[in-house]
């Protein structure tokens, strides 16, 4: 299963739609200074990767399994034009890291809540699926963080309940969330505050993918869905007459690549490769390619339970 691959030119597979490519061209011109360097390196993985492959030879020539929850447009979904492939920022980033260390990736689609259990059970080798790295989750896996988190608040058109974040405006509202999302405990803690303010508590409806959360708002079952701002944006783009983004909120987490606990060598190799991919400008380029906010960019760090 060859997945959407960066760089495109070498593989000769034009998967991005024409308008998007125009957009990218525009972006390339606008951010000329940043982009020039990676363009020159496009023909191969960054040169430093050769050294990395020598230092970490265990994964060279291997095919690893990446567990994903492919329900997040922009990050990871199947390609509507060729549903046998996965596309999105996380997919491209993972393959760039894989190319640097010399491994290929296949994909295992699971529900969000099963991402880390699948990893822990050895049914996957790595998880690159827009998962927020928290101390709680670090009990199940080690994380290499790579992106800041901005959440958007998705509401019905006109925002009838006047919701503007995970705050008192959400009291009494019904929030749709994915099972296992970090927003869930945040909304749960809100219950006490609402009670103190003499307001009804918010209720949470748990679904198992992004699409079902969006459907819950469209069907009038839920009032809001708080999630990664880019996911919220793509939902609004798909249903511009029915949905809108109320506001973006900051969440005190970062997005991380999860690797199994007890494999520090693999963790370090992925970290080193990510640093090289960032140095080569690939990370930034991919953000733009997938229409994500470049402010998401962050230098990688390791997050473990201890």
């Amino acid at each position: 299963m060859e997945k959407s691959i960066w760089p495109q030119a070498r593989r000769g597979m034009a998967r991005a739609s024409l308008p998007r490519r125009k957009l990218m061209l525009g972006a390339a011109i606008a951010f000329g200074l940043v982009v020039v360097a990676p363009l020159s390196a496009q023909a191969a993985a960054p040169p430093a990767c050769a050294a990395l492959q020598e230092k970490y030879p265990d994964w060279k020539g291997k095919t690893l399994v990446n567990a994903i929850n492919p329900h997040t447009p922009g990050y990871e979904t199947i390609d509507p034009k060729d549903p046998s492939k996965y596309i999105g920022f996380d997919i491209d980033l993972g393959e760039a890291i894989g190319e640097c260390l010399g491994f290929k990736l296949t994909y295992k689609p699971v529900v969000f809540a099963a991402l880390l259990t699948t990893l822990a059970a050895g049914q996957a080798d790595i998880v690159i699926s827009d998962i927020y790295a928290t101390k709680e989750r670090a009990k199940a896996a080690d994380f290499i963080t790579y992106s800041k988190v901005f959440d958007g608040v998705l509401v019905a058109k006109g925002n009838p309940k006047g919701i503007n974040g995970i705050n008192l405006s959400m009291c009494g509202a019904a929030a749709a969330e994915n099972t296992g999302y970090v927003e869930v405990p945040l909304i749960q803690t809100l219950a006490a505050e609402c009670k103190k303010a003499g307001k009804p508590e918010p209720t949470i409806q748990l679904y198992d993918n992004n699409a079902n959360c969006i459907q819950a708002i469209l069907a009038g079952r839920a009032d809001t869905y708080v999630n990664d701002v880019n996911s919220v944006d793509s939902a609004v783009k798909a249903y511009p007459d029915k949905l809108e983004k109320a506001v973006a909120v900051t969440i005190p987490y970062s997005v991380g690549i999860a690797v199994p606990k007890g494999k520090p060598k693999f963790r370090d190799a992925v970290l080193a490769a990510l640093i090289e991919v960032q140095k080569a400008g690939t990370h930034m380029e991919l953000l733009k390619k997938h229409g994500l906010d470049v402010n998401n960019f962050m230098e990688p760090e390791i997050l473990t339970a201890d």
Binding site: A67, P70, H71, T72, P73, T77, I78, D79, P80, P83, S84, K108, P109, V110, V111, A114, T117, T118, A120, A121, G122, Q123, N209, N210, A211, I214, Q215, A235, A238, Y239
Partner: protein, 540 residues
């Protein structure tokens, strides 16, 4: 609509069907194997096996499939069993289906008429032959609708494999919906695909039901017959008769016309008694004792029957007649006492050990005790002829040709050659009992036990059966022990009657003497109650 059609024909979704079917097939196939094992364990004589099976059923029937899927996929790797997703999902589905299938199998097996099992045992079938030839063919027929149901449910349940990353139809649909936002077109399309799959299963189920329908061949004949103008008039009456299970009584009567004298004269009886007295002992029960939960059914009963002798057992219901007969054939175990048939002690090997059910079956076949039951107990799924020929092949290893020849011979003797291919349910009670007698006679038994052979018959059908038995006694000199309420018949046919009460023989002696001059007051009272239409006056 065009979107709907686009998704309906999308190769990506169609490819998902393949995985859906794979998981379903693994689940059903594995479930059937596991279910067979479980059902076998539950029906087993060894209680630990049954207990383990019961515990398994409680656990796997009592927990959600989705948890079992996650367990098979995520937990098993921790103990070193890392199955591919499809296999893990198939395993979980199989483990989940197994208890349901086991219960279906158990219901199917237990649903087969107990009487047929007893009849099979009496014919000397080992438990495995009985299962293969009598129980399974009937159980399978009754289980098909339930199995169709289970297949549909397994197919739908396979969608839960989506939680363990099996790219089946449901998972593909949700992923597609997430990437395109065409939520409803996609789910309508995949819904329709599921519907087509389940409809196919239903069609297969109906086809198999049709295939195994025992009446199918009969019905086809009927249809064919409908086109024959000269048979039409005949057909109308004949079909009705077949349905009330009492067709063409005339030929039956015709075949049994050359009846010998109804009973023997006094001199003939005396001569017969003298001959029998010199014969060897055929059956001997000594001090036979048996209780059912504290209630004594046989209380130190003694009975000796000589070769060629016909003994009628009389007595009120519950006096132990049936139990005695069942012990003589070792269909029942007894608590104390011995039973010898042809000099051989039943139920024990030469070194005095109790025999296993299988060995008891072989013993029955070799000792040669035939048995005829009140409820006929014909094997419902095979024809009259096969009821006779089947056991000859299965138990006595006869070739098909020999067995069929013997069956035809015997059907002819009981006047039923023309009904050879009829199913038992299309025969009248009297005809069924005549087939049952033929079946019991087929292996040439040394003794024939008849347990109230006419009690379940309508009065007008009693005579045809009694006639057959009478001939066996008088023409063939067959050793018989008959429990009956037909006093007059006992008087005509039996050499000796034994009157049972409270599990012992309270009076016995030459038939005519005991029946006309009972000495025991209990016998007298019983006879006077039965007297109304059965006075013993037939001796000429």
């Amino acid at each position: 609509m065009s979107l709907f059609l686009h998704y309906l024909s999308m190769p990506y979704l169609l490819a998902g069907i393949e995985l859906t079917l794979e998981v379903t097939a693994l689940g059903l196939g594995g479930g059937l194997i596991l279910g067979l094992i479980l059902a076998g364990m539950q029906l087993s004589r060894f209680w630990p096996l049954a207990a383990i099976a019961r515990a398994y059923t409680v656990i796997f029937r009592g927990t959600p499939l989705i948890l079992q899927m996650v367990f098979a996929y995520d937990a098993l790797p921790h103990i070193g069993i890392k199955l591919p997703a499809v296999l893990a999902a198939g395993l979980a589905l199989a483990c989940n289906e197994a208890p349901f299938i086991a219960e279906m199998l158990r219901a199917g097996v237990l649903g087969v008429d107990r009487g047929q099992l007893t009849a099979g045992q009496a014919l000397g079938m080992t438990p495995s032959v009985l299962m293969r030839r009598v129980v399974a063919p009937q159980a399978i027929r009754t289980m098909i609708p339930a199995f169709g149901n289970e297949a549909v449910s397994a197919l739908k349940n396979s969608s839960l494999a989506s939680v363990v990353a099996v790219q089946e139809l449901t998972l593909r649909s949700t992923q597609l919906a997430s990437s395109t936002f065409d939520f409803f077109s996609i789910f309508f399309a995949s819904g329709l695909l599921y519907l087509l799959l389940t409809a196919t299963i239903s069609a297969i189920q109906l086809f198999v039901e049709w295939l195994l329908d025992l009446d199918r061949t009969t019905r086809r004949e009927r249809k064919l017959a409908d086109y024959l103008p000269w048979r039409r008039v005949d057909l109308a009456t004949k079909l009705d008769l077949a349905d009330v299970a009492s067709p063409d009584p005339e030929p039956a009567a015709a075949e049994l016309t050359d009846t010998p004298p109804l009973a023997l004269t006094r001199e003939e009886r005396a001569r017969r008694a003298a001959t029998i007295a010199r014969n060897n002992i055929a059956v001997e029960a000594k001090d036979l004792t048996k209780s059912y939960g504290g209630q004594k059914v046989l209380d130190g009963l003694d009975l000796t029957v000589r070769v060629g002798e016909v003994v009628a057992l009389l007595g009120p219901s519950g006096s132990g007649k049936s139990t005695l007969l069942r012990c003589l054939n070792h269909l029942e175990n007894w608590d104390a006492g011995t039973v010898r048939v042809g000099g051989r002690r039943l139920g024990f090997s030469e070194d005095g050990k109790r025999l296993s059910p299988r060995a008891v079956a072989n013993e029955r076949a070799s000792v040669g005790v035939g048995m005829v039951f009140q409820q006929f107990n014909l094997f419902a799924h095979v024809s009259a002829k096969e009821n006779i020929a089947g056991p000859l092949r299965w138990v006595h290893g006869m070739t098909r040709i020999d067995a069929d020849r013997r069956a035809s011979e015997l059907l002819d003797r009981v006047g039923l050659s023309h009904r050879a291919n009829a199913l038992p349910r299309h025969l009248s009670g009297g005809q069924q009992q005549r087939v049952a007698i033929a079946r019991a006679l087929a292996p040439n038994p040394s003794v024939l036990l008849l347990d109230e052979p006419t009690s379940a018959l309508d009065p007008e059908l009693v005579n045809e059966v009694l006639e057959v038995i009478r001939r066996l006694a008088i023409d063939d000199g067959l050793t018989m022990i008959i429990s009956t309420h037909q006093i007059r018949f006992a008087d005509e046919v039996a050499d000796r009657v034994a009157f049972l009460s409270g599990g012992t023989i309270i009076e016995e002696g030459p038939a005519h003497e005991v029946l006309s001059n009972p000495r025991n007051p209990l016998t007298a009272r019983f006879l006077s109650v039965m007297e109304a239409d059965k006075t013993p006056e037939a001796v000429r």
